[in-house]
Amino acid sequence: MNTKIEELVKAIEEWLSPDNYRLKEAIDKTVNEGLSSFEDIKYQILTLKKTLKKGEFTRWVESLNVDRLNPEERLTVLCLHAGNLPLVGIQDILAVVLSSHSYLGKLSRKDPYLSETLLEILKKRDLLDGKWAVNLEELAGGKVKADALLFSGSTESVEPVIDALTSYDLADSATPKLVRTAHYSLALIDNDRPETFRQLANAVLRYGGSGCRSVAMVIAPFGLKSKKCEFTDYVEEFWLRNPQHKKPAPSLYYRHAYNSATGVEQSWLVDFMIEETDLQPTEPFILHWIEGDRETLNELPQKYRRGLQTIYVTDPDIELPAGLPAPEMLSDAQQPPIWWRPDGVDPLKWLRKLNCSQDC
């Protein structure tokens, strides 16, 4: 396994090297076509440079507690990549590589170029076997049917996705699938220090707040009214460096008008909104602010467990109420380690278990 990790690290070094003109071209195309902002791509690439290290891969593999990762039978894993933020599907790609299955990738129309540059290098170095395309039609052309399926989406999207894959004979309802439905994260902060507000702004606003690791709900020891001016300064500071690429739909203004009408405390930021409500976060570009503390968590996650990805904290020693996942530091919200678990499930572990007949 060590050799494979070493080979993988070399491939990633080649991919992220300043001489990789294919990646530079892909970044330019992505930016020029308005698919992502340069700042968001740069941030993601810097994060990957920091997190895709040998020690991190080793830790990921060792966490499985298995002697070998090679499957008893090589399966074809179809990855449907979301394009909400740049390179969001990279963990699935690397999990397929490490588990030595074959890869079938439906790249996102919103992020079609960046992942491809990594896939090409992995294929050239014989670390990955498979094909990828933006269109399902193209993917279906090879007469390959998936043995397993990885994707992220809402519960409501599962059925239409399976129907579409069935119509292309790429998969069917019996195909084992790992569907990640988490759509927001929560932060529990205990202070109003500049560093905390800076981290919170990044956790909330990075990638326009897309992605399940983005904070959509914050529990703070103070109400929104007392801190909104101060926090807004940090929002503006963030936006000066990272202009928001994605813009909200006009329905956000509608919600702002509704909040005004019904007396909900809010901060209207035009491209984003903060409101003091404990409603389940379902809509983008909204941060729900709740005055509370650790005890508030006792009620909230039970109420909103469905859809919650991660709880971030500012105090490394805090103990969360029983039954909740281990917290992560707020500073890591947008810089996850490669072994993070979307929806609480490690994709590598899931792939390993797919066709493993013993002790998996």
Binding site: L80, G153, S154, T282, P284
Partner: protein, 333 residues
Amino acid sequence: MTIDPKQLSLSIFDSTQSFIEKARSLFKFQVGSNPVYGRFAKHFIPSGELPESVDEIPLLPIRVFKECDLIADGFRAKLTFKSSGTGNMERSRHHVADLELYRRSILSEFSNHFNSTDYTLLCYAPGYSDNSDSSLLWMLQYLVELDEKGLSRFLPLHQPLIQSDIDEAVQHDRKIILFGAAFGLLDLLDLDSEGLPDGSQIVETGGMKTRRREMSKSELRSRLSEGFGVPQQHVHSEYGMCELMSQLYAIGSEWFDSPEWVHTSVRDPNDPERMCSPGEEGKVAIIDLANMYSCPFILTEDRGVMNEEGQIAILGRWHSAALRGCNFLIDRD
């Protein structure tokens, strides 16, 4: 000019006035007497101005009935309807200041489709006394009480419709209208009820998902038609809710017509000011002038579609939970 609410309420059913004329008067009344709507509307229409067209009228999201007590200044609730709900689910509250307005709305649209003197109404639903929060049961009770012959009634629950029920209902050359929630009418069939005689009509009031597996409207209509031996063109739907004083009927089809004092449209959920084109799904928007004392301008959470004739079909609830997160959306990706 000061608005006289009594005059305004009388004008609602006045067909000599255009809808926009009446809606503008109600808009003015609402802005002046409903602080919640007034604050909402000023985000879209500057103070003192009136909407130019029906499309311009700002529509308040329906959850306002869960979060606020809406009643025009200076009026008090004679009755409060509540939406159905279980456990800790928040329920809508609709305070009714003018029951006469509700009666008139119910009867006008019902009579528009059915000649009430020709029919006996058989309601398969709990009686109003069993659930005094329900606007539907209040409406049925009212229609039952209107029957001068006294033949209309609530059927006993969990018992089949038997021949003697039918014989009693069809006295004096009456025909039957069987009224009930979709699941209730299917339950009635499962109880081996008798078929209905020629000329009978069925009106289902929705509520399919609460008790049975999801069933399409056309499947439901077929089941009711076959089960009760009534032609499909005599199987109708009623669309109403606690938040509305008026009802819409779909006569012999799945497409709902609006009463003269109601305007329906389908709106883009991402931009509720934009009307969807015929065939395009969106959220159902309703302007119900009979809601003058609560709020007549409402954006529902129902998913609907409009046809070229301006009729709407209700397709279920609008799910918004898919909007956040790393979603793979096969259609829009």
